[in-house]
């Protein structure tokens, strides 16, 4: 691997952050970390080996639970607690770990870096989790577009199998687990945990109604835990350095480091390992991170955690990067993927682009989402085009209200939030676009599309 010269990784991947330890990206700069030999030379699987020798499965779960690790896939659910939902270890059924590597949220590419540069860290995390939960087989579902990552990861799996780190009776300790890799075929929805299981089973990626939850009825109907790549990569460090060490990083309710991606109109876009609780302002403006809005422009808005978390205005820049603080602002930490819009950007256009994305990616099961995402996209398109009508903003808000909390999965909600937030913080821009249309065209009804009623 020659990551240093790879244009895709020309971004700074690791930035020293004074006073804070890194444990996710600490070794990714080392040439050849994707190779087992190099990885072993830098400590790969040592934690797992120690865990096998010294810890009971329940102790592993307890440590992860006590660490306060929260899922890094978007919802922020306490990881250890999720593990305890699995049936007791003496339940004779096979059980699975589904690893969510279907990283598709716009603005998000953190797991990609981990997989490509340090796949053995992920595998070690999977092994520790599997040991804790008595997993029969772990199934990694990787985004279809991650062609190179899938290749690297498969090679790492093969090497680890060959070296006896995966498979039956690992290190002669009586514990065994298989790890399989399944590639997606380009659908965002497969990142939803139940759709991911359907897709892993070889079916169309449709979310399943819940209940039953995966811990009861998961992959192939068997108990299953679904964890995100970054979440699992936290596990070895917690087990190696201890709960107390881990809890010193981040905040009380959101401990640990997080991989924050910064993209859009910033000087230094990239993926940074930062402690949870860092402010948005620091992340965007600090020379060590985003380096501020590029070309000296002013900031118009930022998305804090992936496209579905919506736009916040500059007045919210001091919000700390934690699950709860962002929730308070009506948004979420999500995948901690910040997208920055400078003063020249059009919120109307940006919102329409996001709406197009969700319309395109709606799996089509639930009425509200299948049709509602289309409505949002079409109405926003006509506003952007200069064919908006005064009642459109209210229709948008009503459509959003009807899309939230009423569907099988949260894609529908994710499509509604950014529209709602845009209208909450930037309503003036939308009104202006509609007014401009009325002045220019002179009639309320838009020409062309949109006269269906």
């Amino acid at each position: 691997m020659s990551g240093a010269t790879d244009p895709a990784y020309a971004w700074p991947l690791r930035t020293p952050h004074p006073g804070h330890e890194t444990y996710l990206f600490d070794r990714i700069g080392i040439e050849g970390m994707a190779d087992l030999e190099t990885a072993r030379a830098h400590g790969a699987y040592e934690t797992f080996e120690r865990v096998l020798e010294e810890m009971e499965p329940s102790e592993v779960t307890a440590a992860v639970k006590d660490s306060g690790l929260r899922g890094r896939g978007g919802a922020g659910f306490p990881c250890g607690l999720k593990w305890t939902f699995m049936p007791p270890l003496d339940d004779p059924r096979p059980r699975f770990l589904a690893v969510n590597a279907d990283e598709s949220e716009p603005g998000t590419c953190k797991d990609r870096v981990l997989i490509r540069r340090h796949p053995h860290l992920l595998l070690e995390g999977i092994l520790c989790a599997s040991y804790a939960m008595g997993i029969t087989a772990a199934h990694i579902f990787i985004r279809g577009e991650y062609v190179e990552e899938a290749r690297v990861l498969q090679r790492a799996i093969d090497e680890a199998y060959a070296a006896g780190w995966i498979g039956a009776d690992i290190r002669g300790k009586g514990f065994g687990v298989d790890i399989h890799l399944t590639r997606g075929a380009g659908a965002y929805i497969c990142g939803e945990e139940t759709a991911l299981m359907e897709a892993t089973e070889g079916k169309r990626g449709h979310p399943r109604p819940k209940p039953p939850f995966p811990a009861a009825v998961g992959l192939w109907g068997k108990p299953t835990t679904v964890n995100n790549v970054e979440t699992l990569c936290n596990v070895p460090a917690i087990l190696a350095k201890g709960v107390a060490w881990y809890r010193r990083i981040g905040t009380q309710a959101s401990p640990g480091n997080v991989l924050a991606g910064i993209s859009g109109h910033v000087a230094r876009p990239g993926v940074y390992e930062v402690p949870l609780g860092i402010t948005m302002r620091r992340l965007i403006e600090d020379e060590a991170f985003g380096g501020g809005v590029r070309n000296g422009k002013g900031l118009k808005a930022f998305i804090p955690g992936g496209s579905s978390s919506g736009f916040l205005p500059p007045s919210e820049l001091d919000v700390p990067l934690t699950h709860d603080d962002l929730k308070e602002k009506g948004t979420m930490l999500g995948t901690a993927s910040v997208i920055v819009l400078d003063e020249d950007a059009s919120i109307v256009r940006a919102t329409r682009i996001i709406a197009d994305f969700y319309h395109d990616e709606s799996c089509g099961q639930c009425s509200q989402c299948r049709e509602g995402t289309g409505w949002l996209a079409r109405i926003l398109a006509r506003i952007e085009r200069g064919a908006g009508r005064p009642e459109d903003l209210d229709i948008l808000l009503e459509a959003c209200a009807n899309m939230k909390g009423k569907t099988i999965c949260v894609l529908s909600d994710a499509a509604a939030w950014p529209v709602e937030l845009a209208l909450r913080h930037f309503r003036g821009e939308f009104e202006e676009a509609i007014d401009r249309a009325r002045t220019v065209v002179g009639v309320a009804a838009g020409s062309g599309e949109g006269s269906a009623s």
């Binding site: 659908a187 639930c366 009425s367 299948r370 049709e371 409505w375 909390g405 599309e449 269906a452 009623s453």
Partner: protein
């Protein structure tokens, strides 16, 4: 465990795990839905069924289980707004051409739109009209412009039919249903069961019958007349014609499912070439129409003459397993009382007589022991010599569902049939070697102690002798005979014997062989030693071929027994009949079908009456059959079409189809169900039972049920003379969908789903029968180096009399006969796919198109017998089962020759 909750203030008690939606339905509370169907798994997609639950956010009631003390509201202003919004969303992606839409009046989207107060569409709709309807299929039209993406069609295709032909494709507004690999439906591998159209809430997939007719004038519940699954059907009638047919949702045998034949292949009844008047053959050998009066007088006069001049032994009748119980009963009563002979038989002779024989000997009654439902409760299915997904499609789908839900499946068949692909093991044996493999299965169980000693000692007899005789039949020996690896036989035996509840199913691949009865005995032995009788999910069950082949035998259309299998040799049975019939019945059994033909050739048999049975095409060694028919003095053939047999008749009488008469059928699992007159008989023909009574009257006898005979009265007499039918009456069968499974001995008896309960065999104890190895009459040799085995295919039924007169033939798979031959053999013979070949046996030769494919094994070829232009049965041997005379259709030796190619080909 039950749970109590309140729905709209009403207290409802349901099983734990029930969904709120089902609980509401049980309480008579309607919750609007679009994507839900009671027979499918919850899908949760339309979101119309959302309800308010106290203390939580609104939930979708279809997939939310009830909780103790739950307080549910299904009607609130909030929910009305929510549902109206859903309707508006769905309608925004649906054309608004309701008046001209074939679903108008029966559209579920219309219903929920009305229910929720949908008035206005405020949202831009996408462009329409880009997708042309798929009209490639003879029975179904797919119009994806109308699709509302509920996926019920896809789900029913997966969950009920197990065909996995349909899929959802695309997302958002672009979502649609895809057939196969984006193929026209007619080429997508669709089995044409029509379940998708039945599920469609709008008009996206629809029966042509519905599109062409609109709403029906009336709906009549009846029973399908194709195979012996006995599907309950709702026939929709418009203008006194069948408009379309749907499976009855409460049908006990089919549970709302049907196959291409029952659902769509009904057009034969109005076919132009249907016989409409009696035909008499003149001296020049041609037929001319005569009146019914003339025909009936003529029949009566000739039969009287034969009886009086040559004695009762000169007459024989073949009754029809396609006709009702009542008609069969009338025919056997006529034969026994008016003609004075027991020479009546039906086509079960040539299909499942070995099953009836062996089951009767070993267990005490000649019918299957368990019910279709038991397949849902079994852990292991041993399927031998049957291809249910084609020959009994509704039952085949049920087996598939059971296997997909985790039951193990062992398939023993010379061909890699569809179910073999679902099987744990497929033992691909040579035709004719069933006994060898079944013997070895028993030997493994005995050898390895895989039998239930307690059951054997308490409920069976003859075990020790049997055990000694079977000991030498090792899997290795079976491998030598059958070609099945010995290890596979061992594995299969262990899987079967270790299952908690195991079920054995067999078809004609077992019985239509020289060793048919032996194989059935072997299968019964296997079930006996493992205790697999008398409880749910177990048993030994023949899958009967024809709609009423069970019933025809049950009501006495057999030469050796009266109804309910009471032997004519039994003085008490004869006395019972004499008391009611008023005449003495001879105690000697009559002739079986093969013996009838022999007797005719020998000149002993002078007259025959054959009802709805094309023996000249469907019986083996048809050259022999035709010669026999031609040697008769007088032959009556009662038919709906001029067929091969009728051509040899002196008098042809046009009968009625199942759509035109009243009566009952008995299906494969002893289920007696009503057949109802759906449409009045067209001018020119009489129901078959009426004909028999009319002839009897003219011979000075009255069969005693009125003229025309009243089927309900016939059933009363059957019930009186048949202990196991003692509780059967039309009154109890009147409600649409009603059924009674015999034994049903009294009016209070609910009928018997599982016979021999608790090891109490009807015979007393279950009897083991040693089964010495006996091979088929013919095995391949130098001159005839191939095994030919025969069977059915999905789209046709038997000799195709009915199906070939329907648009089924428009489907490529159903258009013509093909000889299936393995690529290795084809290559050796220089035969290419699609080329014509000659198939020759010691009896005859036919020409047919070759299909080179891998479902047969090298050395075996396969043909169906659906196509009169390819008279497959000409080739077959006239060997027969030693106990029952059932012919060996399934094993013949043939030679294949490539037909000469034209130069340059």
């Amino acid at each position: 465990m039950s749970v109590t909750l309140r729905i709209d203030g009403t207290e409802v008690e349901v099983e734990a795990g029930t969904s709120i939606l089902s609980a509401a339905r049980a309480a008579g509370i309607r919750i609007p839905t679009l994507c839900d169907s009671p027979r499918l798994k919850p899908y949760g997609a339309c979101r119309l069924c959302m309800v308010e639950v106290e203390g939580s956010a609104p939930v979708a009631s279809c997939h939310t289980p009830v909780r103790e003390g739950m307080e549910v509201r299904t009607r609130t202003p909030f929910l009305r707004r929510l549902r109206r919004n859903v309707v508006e969303l769905v309608v925004s992606d649906h054309p608004l051409d309701c008046l001209g839409c074939p679903a108008n009046g029966a559209c579920e989207l219309q219903t929920v739109a009305a229910e929720t107060g949908f008035r206005e569409l405020r949202f831009p709709s996408p462009e329409r009209g880009e997708r042309a309807a798929d009209a490639s299929h003879p029975f179904l039209v797919l119009d994806m412009e109308k699709c509302i993406a509920c996926a019920r069609c896809v789900r029913v295709c997966d969950e009920v039919q197990g065909s996995f032909v349909l899929a959802m494709e695309g997302r958002g507004f672009g979502m649609r249903v895809l057939a196969g690999d984006d193929a026209p439906l007619s080429e997508a591998g669709c089995t044409s069961c029509g379940a998708c159209a039945l599920e469609c809430p709008v008009a996206a997939i629809m029966d042509r019958g519905r599109i062409e007719h609109g709403t029906a004038d009336r709906v009549v519940a009846t029973t399908c007349a194709y195979c012996a699954v006995g599907c309950s059907l709702d026939v929709h009638v418009a203008d006194d014609r069948v408009a379309w047919i749907e499976p009855r949702s409460n049908g006990s045998a089919n549970g709302g499912h049907a196959c291409v034949k029952g659902r769509f292949a009904h057009g034969f009844a109005r076919s132009r070439d249907r016989l409409r008047a009696p035909l008499r053959k003149g001296g020049d050998g041609t037929f001319h129409e005569i009146t019914w009066e003339e025909a009936l007088d003529f029949a009566a006069a000739r039969l009287t003459e034969i009886r009086d001049r040559h004695g009762p032994g000169a007459f024989a009748a073949i009754s029809s397993s396609r006709c009702t119980n009542e008609e069969n009963y009338l025919m056997q009563k006529f034969t026994r009382t008016v003609m004075g002979t027991n020479s009546i038989d039906n086509c079960s002779r040539v299909c499942h007589s070995p099953s009836a024989f062996a089951l009767g000997k070993a267990l005490g009654t000649g019918a299957g022991t368990n019910s279709f439902e038991d397949i849902d409760r079994t852990d292991c299915i041993l399927l031998i010599g049957a291809n249910p997904t084609e020959a009994h499609p509704v039952f085949g789908a049920r087996i598939k569902r059971a296997v997909l839900a985790g039951a193990r499946l062992l398939v023993l068949d010379p061909r890699r049939i569809e179910l073999a692909k679902y099987a744990d093991l497929h033992l691909q044996l040579d035709p004719g070697s069933n006994v060898a493999v079944v013997n070895a299965l028993q030997q493994v169980c005995l050898e390895e102690g895989l039998y239930d000693e307690a059951f054997v000692s308490s409920f069976t007899e003859g075990f020790e002798t049997y055990r000694e005789e079977m000991a030498s039949f090792t899997p290795e020996r079976a491998q030598e005979i059958s070609g099945v690896p010995a290890d596979d036989i061992r594995k299969a035996a262990r899987i079967y014997a270790s299952a908690e509840r195991a079920s054995i199913l067999w078809g004609l691949g077992v019985t239509e062989a020289a060793n048919g009865s032996l194989t059935v005995f072997g299968l019964i032995n296997l079930a006996l030693m493992t205790g697999n009788f008398g409880k749910p999910g177990t048993g030994a069950n023949p899958i009967r071929g024809q709609n009423n082949v069970q019933g025809a035998s049950d009501v006495g259309a057999l030469p050796n027994v009266f109804s309910d299998y009471r032997p004519v040799a039994d003085a008490a049975a004869r006395e019972d009949h004499r008391r009611i019939w008023g005449v003495e019945i001879p105690e000697d059994p009559g002739l079986t079908i093969p013996k009838m033909f022999e007797a005719a050739l020998e000149g002993r048999l002078k007259g025959m009456w054959i009802t709805a049975e094309d023996v000249a095409q469907s019986d083996p060694n048809t050259g022999h059959v035709v010669a026999a028919l031609d040697s008769l003095d007088f032959l009556i053939v009662q038919e709906i079409f001029m067929n091969e047999t009728a051509k040899h008749a002196d008098l042809v009488l046009p009968g009625a189809t199942f759509l035109e008469k009243d009566g009952t059928f008995v299906n494969s699992d002893r289920r007696i169900q009503r057949v109802r007159r759906v449409v009045p008989p067209l001018k020119g023909y009489l129901p078959d039972g009426d004909i028999v009574q009319e002839v009897a009257l003219r011979m000075g006898a009255d069969l005693g049920f009125g003229t025309p005979p009243d089927p309900a009265k016939v059933m009363e007499e059957i019930s009186r003379l048949s202990p196991n039918w003692g509780g059967v009456s039309y009154e109890r069968l009147e409600r649409p969908g009603a059924f009674l499974q015999w034994p049903c001995r009294s009016p209070e008896d609910p009928g018997t789903s599982i016979v021999h309960k608790g090891g109490r065999f009807l015979r007393g104890k279950g009897l083991f029968h040693p089964t010495p190895w006996k091979g088929p009459a013919e095995t391949p040799d130098e001159e005839y180096p191939f095994f030919l085995t025969t069977g059915r295919q999905l789209f046709h039924y038997n000799v195709g009399t009915m199906t070939r007169r329907t648009p089924v033939v428009e489907l490529a798979a159903a258009s013509r006969e093909r000889l299936r031959i393995h690529p290795v053999d084809a290559e050796r013979l220089g035969v290419r796919n699609g080329e014509r070949v000659r198939v020759l046996s010691r009896r005859g030769e036919v020409e047919v198109e070759a299909e080179v494919e891998g479902s047969v094994k090298p050395g075996t070829v396969f043909m169906t017998f659906h196509f009169p232009e390819t008279r497959t049965n000409l080739l077959l041997s006239s060997a027969a089962d030693e106990f029952t005379g059932c012919p060996e259709y399934k094993v013949s030796a043939v030679r294949i020759e490539a037909c000469a190619r034209k130069a340059g080909e």
